[in-house]
């Protein structure tokens, strides 16, 4: 699997992409989508919700499995990719491009830098 260098990863298999000093986009990794299989359902939070890192912000379901989505950072939900909920299968085809949320926080850049980089995440996945 190919993990892009410009995004960062969590051990819960979410990723974060820094889009400005105060905003990150959030999605799930290639490993996550591959473990789940065909994704058929996605439940995302409302804009404005305050999240803590590792707090559940939504649910993703494949045909076989239900899995919680955990926030990679503290912050407020600034934007939700609502179109994705009607075509959740897009996550399978483009996991690192299809973002679910934008989370806004003054410490976005700092929190982003504490997450695993592509090399660290790659070896973490291999160790599983």
């Amino acid at each position: 699997m190919n993990y892009p260098d410009h995004i960062r990863y969590t051990k819960d298999h979410e990723w974060a992409e820094l889009v400005s000093d105060t905003k990150v986009r959030v999605g799930i990794t290639d490993h996550a989508q591959s473990s789940l299989g065909d994704i058929v359902y996605l439940e995302l939070p409302k804009v404005g919700r305050e999240l803590k890192a590792q707090e559940t912000f939504g649910v993703v379901e494949s045909i076989k499995a239900v899995s919680d989505l955990l926030s990679p950072v503290d912050g407020k939900v600034a934007e939700v990719n609502s179109g994705l909920a009607s075509e959740p299968g897009r996550i399978n085809t483009n996991p690192h491009g299809e973002w679910m949320l934008v989370i806004e926080t003054s410490t976005a850049k700092f929190q982003f830098q504490t997450l695993m980089d592509a090399a660290a995440y790659s070896s973490f996945v291999k160790s599983l």
Partner: protein, 373 residues
């Protein structure tokens, strides 16, 4: 060290990139290319499944028919040699110990194909029942280790299998079987399955399973045959509302309430284990019903989720199985609910995590195969 059991096709699953999971103690593929793709291959062309984990119990010798009839709910005396029937083992209270397919292989020889995870328990049940059986006692043996089983399912199944056998498949009707050679290997070729589609289940020696599996992959490639995992097996059976032990069926459910009255022959001669309780239940009328529900919004019902009536305040039952239907592209489920709510069109609510989601009791099978084709 892995304690999981492996079938004779384990290396094939690895070679084909199957995603292996623990399924009731067996290491089996949940999928290869993807559940949706595999599911649709079976609906539109065909697919093959390794179902070698299923258990095979043989009842043979004088008294075989009478004993099979004593332990199963259906009437095996109606079977001709090589005919098959769906049936169940019940306990004295009428609870279901397992569901099974009975193949009559001879006048006094029956092959009972049971759920993998129940095989040991079923075999024990038969052995215990022999001691209580007043007639001539046949031999009962657990032959599971001597059988591999490949299910070939889908509208192109006969076309593909015919390329590998000289047995005339047109002469095998649904729920009949024949002994034949598949790629020169001895097999029981049964026109049975668990998908709703036409298809076959091949009972083979484990040593010949790899050759037949590869032959099917090769001869089926041009019609779109795919190897299919347990994921697709589950969505295919669910679209037909076929029951699965541990979901719809358990020791706590009786055949009448789960829609298996048709395989419960209370008037067959000799009686059977559980008959007394099931007869009483029939007089009282079943208290619950097994119904199909379809989503009116979003949200997928899953086993164990609670079901409420239209007022959202009365708990009326529980979801036994649910999924996103790959054919219908909507969420469907099966639930065991109180009688009185089973009419098609009845609105019910299913609790999915914190929220209630609206569903409608619908006609089943969910998928009308005649209409689709």
């Amino acid at each position: 060290m892995s304690m999981l059991k492996r079938t004779s096709l384990f290396e094939e699953h690895q070679r084909l990139g199957g995603k292996m999971v623990d399924f009731g103690g067996w290491e089996l593929p949940v999928q290869y290319s993807g559940v949706t793709q595999e599911h649709l291959a079976v609906r539109n062309a065909c697919g093959i499944f390794d179902v070698s984990h299923m258990g095979e119990l043989l009842v043979k010798g004088p008294g075989a028919l009478e004993f099979v009839n004593f332990v199963t709910t259906n009437d095996a005396s109606t079977l001709s040699v090589f005919q098959a029937q769906y049936s169940a083992f019940c306990n004295e209270s009428g609870g279901i110990i397992d569901d099974l397919v009975v193949y009559r292989l001879g006048q006094e020889e029956f092959l009972l194909v049971v759920n993998a995870s129940n095989t040991e328990r079923d075999f024990q049940h038969l052995t215990n029942s022999l001691a209580r059986f007043s007639g001539i006692r046949p031999d009962v043996t657990n032959e599971s280790a001597n059988y591999a089983q490949i299910a070939l399912q889908g509208p192109k199944a006969a076309e593909v299998l015919q390329k590998l056998t000289q047995t005339d498949l047109k002469k095998i009707s649904t729920y009949w079987s024949a002994e034949g050679l598949v790629l020169g290997e001895k097999a029981l070729i049964a026109r049975t399955g668990y998908t709703g589609e036409d298809g076959f289940e091949l009972y083979l020696s484990p040593s010949s399973s790899q050759k037949v599996w590869r032959g099917l992959l090769e001869k089926g490639a041009d019609v779109g045959l795919l190897p299919c995992g347990l994921g697709a097996r589950d969505t295919l059976r669910l679209e037909m509302k076929y029951s699965l032990y541990g979901h719809e069926l358990s020791d706590e459910t009786n055949p009448l309430e789960v829609g298996l009255g048709w395989i419960t022959k209370l008037s067959k001669p000799g009686g059977f284990i559980g008959k007394g309780s099931i007869s009483d239940l029939k007089l009282q009328g079943p208290k619950r019903a097994l119904v199909g529900i379809a989503s009116l919004g979003r949200g997928i019902p899953r086993q164990g989720y609670l079901v409420y009536d239209s007022s959202k305040s009365k708990h009326i039952g529980t979801v036994t199985s649910g999924t996103q239907s790959p054919s219908l592209k909507k969420a469907i489920g099966v639930c065991l609910i109180e009688k009185g709510f089973e009419t098609t069109g009845t609105r019910v609510w299913v609790q999915i995590r914190e929220d209630l989601h609206e569903f409608e009791v619908c006609k089943t099978p969910f998928l009308d195969l005649k209409k689709e084709k």
